[in-house]
């Protein structure tokens, strides 16, 4: 697989490690009343879709950036690559509004 890095261009997937579902960006608030349950779901439960899947990849052998890669788990086709920091910031600014 070739990952189209937003800053570095096309890079071999071998340079990356895959962490898993991009929902791992959304760490629950530990002060919530049901934080225990939220952390259980956050850490252990997955959608695990067959088809489009947003996931976190770390450019370990490169610029050490975290990416959110949208990839089809049935065909391995990579549909979209974003910097994880942008994704997290967008989500946070949406939360505020």
């Amino acid at each position: 697989m070739i990952i189209e890095h937003p800053l570095l261009g096309p890079r071999d997937a071998q340079e990356f490690t895959c962490l898993g579902d991009a929902s791992l960006i959304n760490r629950p608030d530990w002060q919530e009343d049901d934080a225990v349950n939220r952390f259980y779901e956050y850490l252990y439960l997955r959608d695990n879709p067959a088809g489009e899947h947003r996931e976190l990849w770390y450019h370990e052998q490169g610029d050490r950036s975290w990416l959110v890669v949208t990839r089809n788990t049935v065909t391995h086709e990579i549909l979209r690559v974003e910097l994880a920091i942008d994704v997290a910031r967008t989500a946070r600014s949406k939360d505020r509004t």
């Binding site: 898993g20 579902d21 997955r46 695990n48 067959a50 996931e55 788990t73």
Partner: protein, 416 residues
């Protein structure tokens, strides 16, 4: 029809006209007591033991393709019971004991070959860990044997003992481990189940699970609605897809694992050998091909095929311990979809929907578990309580912190 040597001779003398199909191809009934989704090794074994050992009737196995077309037909055929943790070792030893009597039990030649398995170790620390593991195995009634480098040299002289980086310092052997003809496991269980009245319905894809007042009523399939009192789900890599039909998320990710076969060679490798410094396991099939595999690719996949970096990694690992295989050509490689759980151990449990039961999360160790998985799942389905060896395989172990994490890798499915 019973298979026997006498039968083979009789059929040979009468023109092989007496053989019948090994199982029927029935149309689905409107309702069953038990519907098992998934006609792989685990699903067929479940149906077989439900009918044979637990005396249940009106059982169907639904398979969307043909039986045995998933992971039971795509693995490296190794059986063993060399686990460390309490939740696992009794279960896998139970499985190995079932393997030992399996062919007589279901009257089918599954070519169970107890040729032994050797786990190599390469450091002093690893030796201590394997000695501990061996002791755990012995305490659980399994067999384990410590092999010194000298013993290994006489048994497996072709290993790369003086590798500069990973010298081989010995091995942990389980002589009762070995290999099995994987397809024959599916066929044997299918035939056995069929003889006990189980309907095996192929080309019948489940498209929905119907519920009413918190309990299941049946399944919608490509061949119409089939009513069910209890549903058992045993679909390995497709567990997430199936449980999504009842809006349930699982502690499971689907990953691809590749396996490889070389061209046929004369007998060179007497048993199963695993590498201790990388992830590599190898045996030689009865046809002569070297059958080997390594790590999963590491990203979610339903593709049943992997990518080349892992091929290179697996072959490098093989060359590191067994340089002689470098001249053999790779004949075939394939991928299977693994239901990788959050602690690397399986789940055999009820769900919170009445009548719906789940069997999955086998990671890439499901083949050796086939008989015990079927037996324990049948036990749970028939009696509504877990089998004594499978009490730890519950959904709520993640919530309660009772993980069975052999590798100690944490909630990271691609590292188990």
């Amino acid at each position: 029809m019973r298979y026997s040597g006498f039968r083979v001779i009789k059929e040979a003398l009468t023109g092989h006209k007496g053989w019948k199909p090994a199982w029927r191809e029935p149309d689905p009934q409107p309702e069953y007591d038990y519907v098992i989704i998934g006609g792989g090794g685990h699903g067929l074994a479940t149906a077989y033991y439900l009918a044979k050992e637990f005396g249940q009737k009106r059982i169907a196995v639904l398979e969307k393709g043909w039986i045995g077309g998933g992971n039971v037909g795509r693995n490296t055929t190794i059986i063993r019971s060399n686990y460390l943790l309490d939740g696992n070792e009794p279960f896998y030893e139970f499985s190995l004991k079932l393997w030992e009597g399996l062919e007589q039990d279901f009257n089918f030649n599954a070519m169970v070959s107890q040729r032994g398995i050797v786990n190599l170790f390469h450091t002093d620390g690893q030796r201590d860990a394997y000695v501990r593991r061996g002791n755990v195995m012995l305490l659980n009634g399994a067999d384990a044997e410590y092999l010194s480098p000298e013993q290994l040299k006489s048994e497996l002289p072709f290993l790369n003992f003086d590798n500069a980086r990973f010298p081989i310092k010995g091995g942990l052997a389980q002589r009762r481990g070995g290999t099995v003809r994987h397809d024959a496991v599916a066929w044997g269980y299918a035939r056995g189940a069929d003889q006990h009245g189980v309907d095996i319905i192929q080309n019948c894809e489940v498209t929905g699970i119907r519920r009413q007042d918190g309990r299941i009523t049946g399944v919608d399939t490509s061949r119409g609605f089939i009513g069910a009192k209890k549903i058992g789900c045993a679909v390995a890599g497709n567990s997430g897809r199936l449980m999504a039909m009842v809006d349930k998320r699982l502690p499971i990710e689907s990953h691809v694992l590749q396996a490889f076969v070389s061209e046929g060679l004369k007998p060179v490798l007497p048993n199963v050998v695993t590498f201790g410094a990388g992830h590599f396991y190898i045996s030689q099939s009865d046809k002569g091909g070297l059958v080997f595999g390594g790590d999963i690719d590491g990203y979610n996949s339903y593709a049943q095929r992997g990518n080349l970096p892992v091929v290179e990694d697996v072959c490098e690992s093989g060359m590191a311990i067994m340089p002689m295989i470098g001249r053999a050509r790779l004949l075939r490689m394939w991928g299977g979809v693994m239901d990788m759980s959050m602690d690397g151990s399986p789940i055999i449990d009820r769900t919170d929907i009445y009548g719906l039961y789940f069997n999955g999360g086998w990671c890439y160790g499901g083949f050796k578990a086939t008989p015990a998985s079927g037996w324990c799942f049948a036990h749970l389905l028939a009696r509504d309580e877990p089998h004594a060896t499978a009490t730890a395989y519950r959904f709520d172990r993640f919530r309660k912190g009772l993980m069975i994490d052999e590798k100690g890798a944490g909630a990271q499915p691609n590292l188990h």
